[in-house]
């Protein structure tokens, strides 16, 4: 049984690793991010299989954390926060005097 689960984990991981080609290819960052997402889901699945197969403490927790944070980093890329919350981020404030040294 555990051999089967291990091999399944390997298959999942190998499959999503193919998706990495897309990360390399693009063409848009959205493609790359979706490939990273797929890798994340695949990683979670592989971890779950691995955890059950080897009965290691904590591996399921790791999968839980990965699943929890799967969407987290992508938020930073997609959300226009900080850009129009009252002040444009990448623009210097010309009228603001420099602090005296």
């Amino acid at each position: 049984m555990s051999e089967f689960l291990l091999i399944a984990a390997l298959c999942v991981l190998g499959t999503v690793a193919l998706g990495l080609v897309v990360i390399l290819r693009g063409p848009t960052e959205a493609d790359r991010l979706s490939a990273a997402q797929l890798l994340g889901t695949g990683g979670v699945a592989a971890l779950l299989l691995l955890g059950v197969a080897t009965d290691t403490t904590g591996v399921a927790d790791l999968a839980l954390v990965l699943a929890l944070l799967a969407a987290f980093a992508a938020v930073a890329f997609i959300t226009p926060f900080g850009t129009n919350g009252g002040r444009a981020d990448p623009v210097a404030q010309p009228d603001r005097p420099q602090d005296p040294e």
Binding site: D89, P90, V91, A92
Partner: protein, 104 residues
């Protein structure tokens, strides 16, 4: 060759790659990324050392002392990354560029 040795060699290569990037990359964000590669290569090597130690004694574990040190180092690396990125963003605000002048 065992898996542990394999990951050790991987760590060694990552250290080389990160070091090269840290010196050569012109953009600051790329330098920060290179630093992170370098750091994770170093920790991977540490992890290999931990696995050897833990594996010999506890049968199927990793040396907890080394693991604790790695966790501490990971937190430091994160804080460093945040500070560097904050400096970079301030630099971009001020100068509109993401590179340090000249030499690097």
């Amino acid at each position: 060759m065992s898996s542990v040795t394999l990951f050790g060699l991987c760590g060694a290569a990552l250290v080389g790659l990160g070091l090269f990037g840290l010196i050569v990359q012109p953009g600051v964000l790329r330098k920060i990324l290179a630093f992170n590669l370098l750091g994770s290569g170093v920790l991977l090597l540490f992890g290999v050392i931990a696995r050897r130690g833990g594996g010999v004694v506890a049968g199927n574990g990793s040396d907890p002392v080394a693991q604790a040190l790695i966790i501490t180092a990971l937190v430091v690396a994160f804080a460093a990354t945040v500070l560097a990125v904050a400096l970079l963003r301030r630099l971009v605000q001020e100068t509109g560029r993401d590179s340090l002048d000249s030499d690097g």
